[in-house]
Point group: D2
Chain length 383, copies 4
């Protein structure tokens, strides 16, 4: 039997972290052949070029591409999407995949989905039906309407997809593959986890209590990023606890966040904060698994966090509407609220593991769906 | 009070035909300023460059743009979408509209919607909630998930949008503006209607019985276009009735259709068929209003056709699922079925007018919504 | 020894015709590996998709790409160049060639040259130093200034490159590879040469006297194409001799030329003209080798024509300044001049072969240069 | 008389600094209308967004555009050029300029030249005929071959253009407009010149002796940037003199240079260096006019420097071949050579002013040429 060619586009460090177990499962599936495309911020030094990391993990990269315009503003985010479609359509035309697997809700995802759709290539979408803030909310649902098959995190999101008019026969609850990695990895930390990463500031001892901060821009609130991040920076400055701070992603407003961080460093040069660009997915999981508290608006604090039970303080609107386990407390863009919530979460300590985002066996299920799904290229809403 | 700047992108002759009453209503609204952008196939001689027509109708064109890649295949359709986003984002950044109004389900629409969404510009979408075949079906619903406000054709489509999770407060039944033009125009034909258009073949006398044929490619059935159009061509060749045949739009597969038509002309040089590229919207309406039967898969045969009561034979899957009035008979890509159906429809003659697609007063309502709608840039699904 | 990877971009049927012997020579060279990229109008049905032809000739196509915007006007020609750079840079980044070989003076050539230059990939340019009209004149010399090595047609063009400031050590007289094909092919015609091509009109018997017409647009005279081609059409219509007419290339103004041809066909339906889109390079050579006269502005009438000795009438400015052999007569865009010149040329009959454009052994020389050239990536003008 | 519309594209802070006097002269010319387009790195916060500065100087910006891809590597530099052509062709099509004026040798210049050329818009190029290293060398000469009219710095460069085959009637010695600004500005410094700029590090007192450093990447030596800049950084670190360090431009390799600077700051946090992104052109001139020595590879140290007489140490190949006055000493990428040369230059002190790059009256001459030049759109090499 001819193997199905499954094309996966890795567009950022987070993409890779989440999809690594799926890539493994595809690679090992007897009826599948992996076509790995790496591009967008995954190639950029500024956001942590991860091509080497991917190759060291044993994957062969079939094609690479650039699609990110400088500016990190609403105009360039639109343009990057357009450029992504131009790039990916050529790559898909040359690789001729049987199925394209795409993930989540970013502009790279939308570019992938549009290229696949117009090219009549079956599209399997992961993480549909979730609810958040930012433009991701609209984009995720738009991608759902373009996708032929859906692999979802849980029954609630599957149900939402069906309500939206997707054919129930195309919706599969698999759990999120990010949980697979969390489950399959020894998450104990040793002093040297951070050794491999060249950050900025004084490195910290993560065998002692520490915080992790990751706050992305909210594109629909573009223009407010600087004042938003300042609240977080002031709270951290007051906490004076060892903190690992990860740089934001490439969304519109990223420069506002980065500027805030840089100004803060210039003014305060806080000896207790270590700034990092990117990490191996497993190391990142170790980091948040063992943190006293995670602070910001990264979905990983909610998703992987629910499974890991790490206390988290989620700031602002970016994750509004997303299903959350007990480990999460939500606060406004407000220094005092952040401060109070982090202190309360630290006092509370670890929460029990919750499997609302998956039980850790999603990748194998996804690979099986990719190998067997029968797609009707002509979609039709169910009502 | 500062007028709201409403940007409308006209991307094809059909776009213009449908939206002309809306452009008029915006232009005349005391609180609105029209920003008119014309591009894509609306600029191309091959598809009938309509810029002059638009200017002669009294509109000022603010900006023009090119976005169509040659090939008319699935790859270039994807690429044209990407290029459209690149072009439109620059234009929107320079025009700085308060609201963007977009229409229907084409790749130009998707490009408009994506540029608007990422740029945090309120997006009003017309014709959401309808159901068809082709990639348009997926794209229409994807655009719905990106749009902030919806102006719809009827209660059924409004209801569908709400089921899809749109906020009912953002969904307005206005009817389709294409009906406004049908209602507001004297549709009696005189011999000279066709005089202004340089077609190919012998011109025909449209005061005598005639057919209109317009059959677009179905992108999700790319590769079958030639054999599909051949069935229609053979049926028409057998009918030997005066026929006005309009060239297909710019979708993937357009070249297959055009090739079929050209080969047919080479072989048969049928003296009773007149091939036309584009017409004034009003003249096009006259044409279909007075036809003995309309044949093909144009939505105008269903939409404007329902109001006009012109018998129509709809071929294949492109309009599958779309609500249809009694004037429509559906057949397969099959010469004999087409032949039988056209003959039966001619025998039946005109149908009573049906207002399922609107009562002819949509444009004014749409302009009022554009003038007054309050948009929450951050969308959120309602369940 | 590791083989040098030589990337060649084939962007049109003419490109392919001219470069086929070079592709062969690279393929057979012990120290070279051919990376074949096919795109632009070479993929378009309208201009004669030649991918199948290339594969049937035994070449493996590594990557394909689209870059042509519809419109065939000055704006879209600029945009196609830009898009070509976007496409080719990704392809070059993935193929990682050691050397890129490019040809002539078209916008696809310029796109190739710019991508190569900025990517620090050694660029070998063929046909530099020639002189013509149209924008090709400027583009050819611009490409020269970007290229690291030059393979030229003759001593005159080599001398011109050196005058322009190119390092003499980088300029090699090889002759034009198009002559190789002319020399290496049995050019006798049989009735069935045209059998494999689906043209428009009545096929003609090329064992009897016939004309070949090929007239491209002149981009720097954009807007005059229709009236220019009309002069030629009227002359041909008066000659009433069997004529094979080839459609123009994709340059700005192409639609003007095509429109003129189409209107002419509608009005006159001349039974003695057969319209063709594309041919196998060898068949095209047979065609012009045996024509009574070639008419238009194709460089092949001058270049291959000099070697073949076929009488030619060159119309207008497109080839102004180009070195010509005795087989060429130049006339203005003027029906009477064309008519008189064609009749005089037919009366004259064949001219002796002239090797001013090469002796038929260029490809092997070019392959050797590609295998051995040592390139200084940093260019510097020589004065 | 209808004013000629002159379009100028400002693509970076340096562009603006050099062309400001020309913009003024166009604005004030009775027969000219200025169409000002601002984009590329001129819009980017990272490189110092200068739109506000331009508007505060009294200019109206007609259109803005984005064209820079992230990566600052050879692939993205090619892609940025392609994207620039896509953007500028639309802008030119909408602005319909009579003449486009472009400057120097950057990828934004090349994009401008290509769009203008294919669109048959007369192109006037400034600074042709100069000689340097980096890819700029090739690009500058390629732009020459596309330009219709040339305004040059001096007799030597004019002569070079004519040798390259440009028509002498199209070559005008005007001097470089950058000298106009140097001549027309009071260059005495006061303590507060730096007050308006938010740099990084401790501000310095520029009424006391100081150095200026500006070192751009050399694209043709991509991959060596980090080790090149380290030599300069070490030399400066040893000199321990107050230093104003300007960030590099957006060329391929920029990230290497920036990374070197950032690592240096992390390690040494030198209290005597102040890092700045962008300045008002006049303030920049004050800075270099009063520096004890300028260090790096900026052409301003040679061009404006010749007029100002400021001692300069030029490092590496970027300015190789460029005509230099006595104020310049050239050294290799070598800490010790840099150190020695800077110390020698400081000991020497100011040099006499040299007018080899102009006498300070170029802008008026350029405006007159723009107003009166008669362009033959069809170029032809002169031999």
């Amino acid at each position: 039997m001819k193997k199905r060619k499954i094309c996966v586009v890795i567009a950022s460090r987070v993409h890779y972290g989440r999809l690594k177990p799926v890539l493994e499962a595809i690679k090992q599936h007897p009826n599948l052949e992996l076509q790995l495309v790496v591009g967008a911020s995954a190639l950029l030094e500024r956001y942590g070029n991860i091509t080497q990391m991917i190759q060291q993990d044993g994957f062969t990269i079939n094609e690479t591409f650039h699609m990110i315009l400088e500016g990190e503003n609403p105009i360039t985010m639109a343009k990057s999407t357009g450029l992504g479609i131009l790039e990916l359509s050529t790559i898909f035309a040359n690789l001729k995949p049987d199925v394209i697997f795409t993930h989540a809700d970013r502009f790279e995802t939308l570019a992938t989905a549009i290229a696949a759709s117009y090219m009549n290539i079956p599209l399997v979408h992961n993480q549909g039906g979730e609810v958040t803030g930012s433009i991701d909310e609209s984009v995720r649902h738009a991608v759902t309407k373009l996708a032929h098959v859906h692999t979802t995190t849980n029954a609630e999101t599957s149900q939402r997809l069906i309500k939206m008019g997707e054919d129930p026969k195309t919706v599969f609850i698999t759990g999120c593959p990010s949980i697979d990695l969390a489950k399959g990895t020894d998450l104990s930390v040793t002093k040297n986890v951070l050794m491999n990463y060249k950050g900025v500031g004084n490195s910290i001892d993560i065998t002692q209590p520490y915080l992790v901060v990751l706050q992305h821009p909210v594109t629909t609130e573009y223009g407010n990023g600087l004042q938003q991040i300042n609240q977080t920076l002031q709270a951290i400055n007051e906490l004076k606890m060892p903190t690992i701070w990860l740089w934001p992603n490439v969304d519109a407003g990223s420069d506002e966040i980065s500027k805030g961080i840089r100004l803060f460093r210039e003014q305060h040069d806080p000896p207790f904060v270590y700034f990092l660009k990117n990490m191996h997915p497993e190391d990142y999981l170790k980091l948040i698994a063992n943190a006293s508290c995670c602070v910001g608006n990264s979905s990983s604090f909610i998703r992987e966090g629910s499974f890991l039970g790490t206390p988290a303080v989620i700031i602002g609107t970016r994750q509004q509407g997303r299903t959350k386990a007990k480990n999460v407390v939500e606060v406004d863009y407000d220094k005092q609220q952040i401060l109070d919530a982090v202190q309360a979460q630290i006092r509370h300590g670890k929460f029990p593991s919750d499997t609302m985002y998956g039980e850790g066996n999603a990748s194998k299920k996804i690979a099986d769906i990719l190998a067997t799904c029968r797609v009707n290229i002509q979609k039709r809403i169910q009502y």
